[in-house]
């Protein structure tokens, strides 16, 4: 899977496949001499040729049958999935997110370093000790009392039931014996009771690869050497992490055991059940948390001398606002377009102050209606702050974020010999607005090819400083927020939001992001049909993400993984 730089040729695949996207070839011609650009160049051709083909669907005949949703393999739990899963396995415990790779794609490839192993080990012992050192909690969790350190049926029962929930499948006899033996050995070594032994056994279950990785290996299909079928438990896990971003509950495991996930009716019943639950918010919102990397807000850093509203707690508050607003528009209003014009905000006192809201907001965050300048998620502090410098805004970064995360377009990085940094403001010397500073981007043809795609978007957001606070002027100079999105002019950030809501690339991009989150990899050529089907579902459902999720999990390709992808000899 790991190839030398430039060998991969799947960049821009989605755009090339669907043909809805705009042809922006000049950007790719402008950056020459870079190995990676062969891929983008090829895709550009695909895009310009794709306008007809994508709509007619005439290229479907060359697709492989049956379609798969990616290679078989191991997917590490993301930190959020880790914490969610621990809570679902053990109940009410304090479980911190553990892990290094935050997005679904990164977690499907990322490794565990020795330091990561230590983190998992420490967390497992802390979590297990919380439960098993507390007579009330352990009784509630286990429902039995072990009398003996050895051969006690309660120990075996607890290992089997916690093991099944943690590993998302029943333990084999060997596995069950392995952990009852751990319980016995440890109780003996530490001269403790059976509870102590169980505490260590459960700490082991929580460190096992069978817990830390979602195993999606599949089983052979007769007559089809290229694909594998996910077994009922693997499929149940896929459903559960997609819908809830967590481990399957007992009902889902029971359904898997009863063979109910093997037929479309049973599968539909389960996904409907999961999506009806309030916990579906965790899954749907995670699509956007992944795509926008909102977890970066947990560790937001700004120059507090220049941006006095910055505090270590304001980043998490910004993240929470976006999570709530995304959940409300996507799941309650069930219309993705509302992401770009929703007036709903969710603010605590700090964020309310940053937004300049009148009235009292306490420490508990609350839903508010924001002024028109803040409608849509683009003008929310979280999005604005992540894509800025520590002191100063970056129209290029903000524009790039919109192109990349909201429109799924790939803009190549600047040539290696270009310094991409603008100096941070010093308060001395000549004052220029960002639009003036970025003038070279628009006039130098080498820069303009790409920067004309990013900078006009970012410049429309210049009324918001590097923390996302409103400002009338930039260093005392007037701000011009007007611009142009692929030929559609807009007067300000609010109009930009309206343009985006109607832009075909945006709906497609949500599907790409949903798909990547669900299957943990960037879509491959043989997945184009599934993607196209999902985009059509989304459009015909008036942009209801839930309809797309249902269509995804009931697609045959969702149950298959492909053999191979192991050509790496590195």
């Amino acid at each position: 899977m790991i190839g030398r730089r430039g060998n991969g040729a799947l960049a821009l695949l989605g755009l090339a496949l669907l043909g809805h996207a705009l042809a922006i070839p000049a950007c790719y011609e402008g950056a020459s001499g870079r190995a990676g650009d062969t891929a983008t160049g090829g895709a550009t051709d695909g895009m310009s040729a794709g306008d007809d083909e994508g709509d007619s669907g005439s290229d479907g005949g060359e697709m492989l049958e049956p379609l798969a949703s990616g290679p078989a393999g191991l997917r590490l739990l993301t930190p959020t999935q880790y914490a969610n899963s621990v809570l679902d396995v053990l109940g009410d415990v304090a479980a911190a997110p553990v892990g290094q790779w935050r997005s679904s794609i990164a977690a499907a490839q990322g490794g565990v370093s020795p330091a990561g192993v230590e983190d998992y080990e420490n967390a497992a012992h802390e979590i297990s000790a919380q439960i098993f050192s507390d007579p009330v909690q352990r009784a509630a969790l286990t429902g039995c009392t072990p009398e003996h350190v050895q051969g006690d049926p309660c120990v075996a029962q607890v290992v089997a039931s916690i093991g099944r929930r943690a590993w998302r499948r029943p333990l084999t006899d060997d596995e069950a014996e392995r952990y009852t033996t751990v319980a016995f050995d440890v109780a003996t070594m530490l001269q403790g009771d059976a509870w102590l032994g169980l505490q260590y056994a459960v700490a082991g279950i929580l460190q096992s690869p069978s817990f830390l990785y979602r195993v999606e290996l599949g089983t052979p299909i007769e007559g089809d050497p290229d694909h594998l079928r996910l077994d009922a438990y693997e499929l149940g896990s896929r459903l559960s992490y997609l819908a809830w971003n967590s481990t399957p509950d007992d009902a889902l495991l029971d359904a898997a055991a009863a063979g109910e996930l093997d037929d479309p009716e049973g599968l539909k019943a389960q996904i409907d059940r999961l999506l009806e639950s309030p916990r579906a918010r965790d899954g749907a919102v995670q699509v956007f948390v992944d795509a926008f990397d909102l977890d970066a807000l947990y560790s937001l850093q700004k120059d507090a001398a220049l941006l006095p509203a910055f505090t270590p707690t304001i980043g998490p508050a910004m993240r929470e606002e976006l999570v709530q607003v995304i959940g409300a528009t996507v799941l309650d209003e069930r219309d993705l377009r509302r992401l770009f014009d929703t007036p709903a905000g969710y603010v605590d006192a700090e964020l309310a102050a940053l937004y300049g809201l009148p009235g009292e907001v306490g420490t508990e965050p609350m839903v508010v209606t924001l002024p028109e300048t803040r409608h849509g998620i683009l003008t929310r502090a979280g999005i604005l702050a992540i894509h800025s410098g520590e002191a100063s805004t970056s129209p290029t970064k903000r524009g790039l974020a919109v192109r990349r995360a909201i429109m799924c377009q790939q803009i190549p990085p600047p040539p290696p010999d270009v310094e991409a940094e603008l100096p941070e403001p010093t308060g001395e010397g000549e004052h220029l607005t960002k639009r003036q500073q970025l003038e070279m981007h628009a006039t130098n043809p080498t820069c303009a090819a790409c920067h004309n795609l990013t900078d006009p978007i970012g410049l429309s957001l210049e009324h918001f400083d590097a923390l996302g606070g409103w400002r009338e002027t930039d260093q005392g100079l007037a701000i011009d927020p007007s611009g142009d999105l692929d030929g559609m002019p807009f007067a300000d950030a609010s109009e930009l939001g309206s343009r985006l809501a109607e832009h075909p690339a945006v709906a497609e991009c949500v599907i790409f992001n949903l798909y990547r989150y669900a299957v943990g990899h960037v879509e491959q050529p043989d997945e184009a049909e599934t993607i196209e089907m999902l985009v059509e579902t989304l459009e015909s459902s008036d942009y209801d993400l839930r309809a797309a999720i249902e269509a995804l999990v009931t697609a045959e390709s969702f149950r298959l993984v492909s053999v191979g992808g192991e050509e790496d000899g590195e």
Partner: protein, 459 residues
């Protein structure tokens, strides 16, 4: 990939009639490894290896001493190591053969530390800012050294950072291409995250006191017992995996072996091993580097570890250096950007001198601890280097390469200046690996590959 066979612990599974079987102490002893006995047995003192890294290089063409051979006189930029110059070899005139296709700082860091070209996972190909996603093709030199040296030391490779580690431009740390941020890599897309707080380093190393040669507490052995079960789980799973997932899982297991080692090790402390005070977290970065260096030196003296990686600043040096007045508030930008804008002016040269001074502090800390007939420095090889030769124009000729210590006598000619004429900088990591006794025939891949050590300094 370093994969050891499963350690089958000698466990008594007493299942006699449902009654518990008391395990006596000898069983516990049977679980213990024999770390430390090498010293008791009168064998040679262990050698140690370290990488001391700073971002943005030096002033190529202007940093090397005027004369070659022994008795070199420090240039202005090397004044910071004047006090320990007789234990430092200066290798000037080497070139790093980077491909020149991507960000020079990433290419340089990967080139000098891992001896190869950047690797990019295909999922990230074509992403904007793809230099954020580049990783090493093979383990970095400190990890190769640790393969040979670490043995059963509880801390295989002490990895620390002093100034804030680089975070990606997109405001995201959610990328596995870590070579712009991290310098110690056991495998592609796997890195050793550095400890950045001296107090935390202290707690990890000496929180439970200095090693005594006693058996570890029973709780540690119980935790190690749990890890046995994890290893068994993994061996069942491994048979079903494809090549790349198998490699990922093997890397994961390597961490489990290391942790088991730490939990069960009996460490025989060296003669200079003594408790240090908790240093807190000094605001001065030179001071922070200093106390971290002292803690590492003491960990080496106590035989808690034999390898270290210190990242004074990340590749590109995208940070401030407030100790020497280089801070955004004054300059309006990071040191990286400042150097690009100003070239080698007085402020930049002050910083370049400062990097060498802080490196010198670490060398002195090793020299302060007696060991055998000499000091810890006599048994060490420390590679001091950077990501580029010069940060102003991303030069790769006249790459900064400092080799400190005598490596137990293998670096037989310390304190000389060797002037190369455009030879590959890869020769120096190779020399260090040979010096610590690693059986390395060739270091590096592709155009970085070399089998020619610097014979002028090697025994």
């Amino acid at each position: 990939m370093r994969i050891r066979p499963l350690k089958r612990r000698t466990f008594l599974r007493g299942m006699a009639g449902g009654t518990s079987v008391a395990l006596a102490l000898p069983i516990l002893e049977a679980m213990l490894n024999d770390h430390g006995t090498a010293l008791a047995g009168g064998d040679a003192l262990p050698r140690r290896f370290g990488v001391w890294f700073w971002g943005n290089g030096t002033h190529p063409g202007n940093w090397a001493p005027a004369s070659t051979g022994a008795g070199w006189v420090p240039s202005d930029l090397l004044m910071g190591i004047a006090a320990v110059k007789d234990w430092i070899n200066v290798i000037s005139g080497a070139a790093l053969p980077v491909p020149g296709l991507n960000n020079p700082h990433v290419e340089g860091a990967i080139g000098i530390l891992a001896g190869g070209n950047p690797l990019l996972h295909e999922s990230y190909s074509g992403q904007g800012d793809d230099w954020n996603f580049l990783t090493v093709p093979t383990p970095s030199v400190d990890e190769v050294a640790a393969d040979h040296l670490a043995g059963d030391a509880p801390f295989r490779n002490l990895t620390v950072a002093v100034t804030p580690v680089h975070t990606s431009d997109a405001g995201s740390t959610n990328h596995p291409g870590t070579a712009i941020s991290y310098i110690s890599h056991p495998a592609p897309y796997v890195f050793n995250p550095p400890i950045q707080d001296p107090s935390e380093l202290f707690a990890a190393l000496f929180g439970a006191g200095i090693p005594t040669g006693e058996a570890p507490p029973a709780e540690s052995l119980a935790r190690a017992r749990v890890l046995d079960a994890i290893l068994e789980d993994a061996s069942t799973l491994e048979g079903r995996l494809g090549a790349s997932d198998k490699q990922r899982l093997d890397q994961h297991l390597e961490g489990i072996y290391q942790l088991q080692n730490r939990l069960t090790a009996i460490v025989q402390p060296g003669e200079a091993c003594a408790m240090l005070p908790d240093p807190g977290n000094p605001t001065s970065e030179r001071e922070r580097a200093g106390v971290m260096g002292q803690l590492i030196a003491m960990a080496w003296a106590c035989d808690l570890s034999r390898v270290m990686t210190l990242e004074f600043s990340s590749p590109a040096s995208h940070v401030d250096y407030p100790d020497i007045g280089i801070a955004s508030a004054g300059l309006g930008t990071s040191f990286h950007e400042y150097e690009h804008q100003n070239g080698y002016n007085g402020t930049v040269l002050t910083a370049l001198r400062y990097f060498v001074e802080v490196f010198g502090d670490f060398v002195a800390a090793l020299q302060a601890l007696p060991e055998g007939a000499g000091t810890l420095l006599d048994n060490s090889c420390i590679l001091g280097t950077s990501d580029v030769a010069g940060g102003w124009d991303h030069a790769f000729n006249d790459f900064p390469l400092l080799v400190a210590g005598r490596a137990g006598g293998a670096l037989a000619h310390p304190g000389v200046h060797v002037a190369l004429s455009g030879d590959s900088a890869s020769r120096v990591p190779l020399t260090c690996l040979r010096a610590i006794g690693a059986p390395v025939e060739t270091w590096g891949t592709d155009q970085f590959a070399t089998n020619a050590a610097i014979t002028e300094i090697l025994a």
